[in-house]
């Protein structure tokens, strides 16, 4: 198969008359099928090899302290609180939540990056702290995405905090669902 036509004859030049020679056997082996097989197996192994090795995201938790003087303080001006709601909804407010909820805004994972970048531009890097508050309805993926957003936007100080009741109520009001439907 590696040659075209020409029969199986091998490299015969004509022998002169009367020259009798023992028939030389052609020792050339056609390797084409073997190559075929080789590449077939290669393709198999390429496709079955797991290309994506899992990566890890490191997370350091702060120690919970009871004493208020040991707790990390965040300056009001530099704080941005991000809340994760149901169906990948994201809510945020800057500083302290107003009593009437006037600074409570809603966005999604695409919009939150601009919010963070804006906040970063307008605040002293020393004071910037982002508080992530996942609600009961949020999924693990949302939390990881939010933490990832901190890496992407190069935010040095951020915290994972439990959501408070007024915030939960505001989220429920915005999402238009009955408060706290237990999952499964």
């Amino acid at each position: 198969m590696a040659d075209l036509g020409e029969g199986g004859g091998g490299g015969g030049h004509k022998k002169g008359p009367g020259v009798k020679k023992g028939k030389k056997l052609n020792t050339r082996v056609d390797l084409t099928p073997m190559v075929d097989l080789g590449f077939l197996l290669i393709t198999f192994f390429i496709f079955t090899t797991t290309m994506s090795t899992p990566t890890v995201m490191k997370l350091f938790l702060p120690k919970d302290t009871e004493k208020p003087e040991e707790q990390n303080k965040a300056k009001e001006s530099g704080a941005l609180t991000i809340m994760l709601g149901k169906d990948r909804n994201v809510f945020y407010y800057e500083g302290i939540l107003a009593d009437n909820g006037s600074n409570f805004k809603s966005t999604d994972f695409k919009g939150i990056r601009d919010v963070i970048l804006n906040k970063k531009k307008n605040t002293d890097p020393k004071d910037l702290v982002i508080v992530i508050k996942p609600s009961k309805d949020s999924k693990f993926r949302d939390v990881v995405d939010a933490l990832d957003e901190m890496t992407i936007n190069d935010v040095k100080r951020y915290a994972l905090v439990d959501i408070s009741e007024p915030e939960m109520q505001l989220i429920n009001a915005t999402q238009g669902v009955a408060p706290a439907t237990p999952q499964q």
């Binding site: 590696a2 040659d3 075209l4 036509g5 020409e6 490299g11 050339r28 056609d30 390797l31 084409t32 073997m34 190559v35 080789g38 590449f39 197996l41 290669i42 192994f45 390429i46 079955t48 090899t49 797991t50 994506s52 090795t53 899992p54 990566t55 890890v56 995201m57 490191k58 997370l59 350091f60 938790l61 702060p62 120690k63 919970d64 994760l84 990056r113 970048l117 970063k120 996942p134 609600s135 009961k136 309805d137 949020s138 999924k139 693990f140 993926r141 949302d142 939390v143 990881v144 995405d145 933490l147 990832d148 890496t151 992407i152 936007n153 190069d154 439990d162 999952q183 499964q184």
Partner: protein, 218 residues
Amino acid sequence: MGRPKIARKSTWVDMTAFCDVAFLLLSFFILTTKFKAPEAISVVTPSSVSSKTAEDQDQCLVTISPDGRVFISYSEEERRMEVVDDLNKRLNLQLSEADLKKASKAEFFASSLSTLKSFVNLPAEQRNGKSLPGIPCVDSTHNEVTEWIASTSSVFLGQKLNLMVKGDKDVPYPIFKNVIDAFKKNDQMKFQIITNQEPIPAGSPLSEKQRAGEKLSD
């Protein structure tokens, strides 16, 4: 007036070299292929921009399935035995020497502490992730993951421990919170979340940093 004769050349191509290359590549791929270890349960991990690869030694892996069941596995067999032994002594689970041996063969643990004895005695083929209840981790008062992590920290005391969480992307947050609360209670403040790598979004501060050649933090 004959046409000039064109010498008929043989079209035979020597395949030997080609064959050599094919099999060289083949052996390379065979040797580098790592077959996926049998997993407790299949989970789809969320993605992050982190590019650090997971270490596969000295690990204590907490897997959370999409329906919120929690599994614990250890990479080393002797560690499994030591952790179960510690649990046994501390909480008086009445496991025998033979049970401990069997526990070291278990790829993962997925039962409450009270049924741990029958769990380790299950035949290996019945030990699949679909039917097992998982480690109870409902709320802060009934969280057995805390006990597991407590034993893990005492077994790994002074040694390197890669504490990892592998959760499905659809795990409800409260379950994940219970798991990290269990870590916190045992002063395990450092852990890793297993993710899939995704590209860094263009134009973000991280991609600028990367372009500037700065080392990316983990």
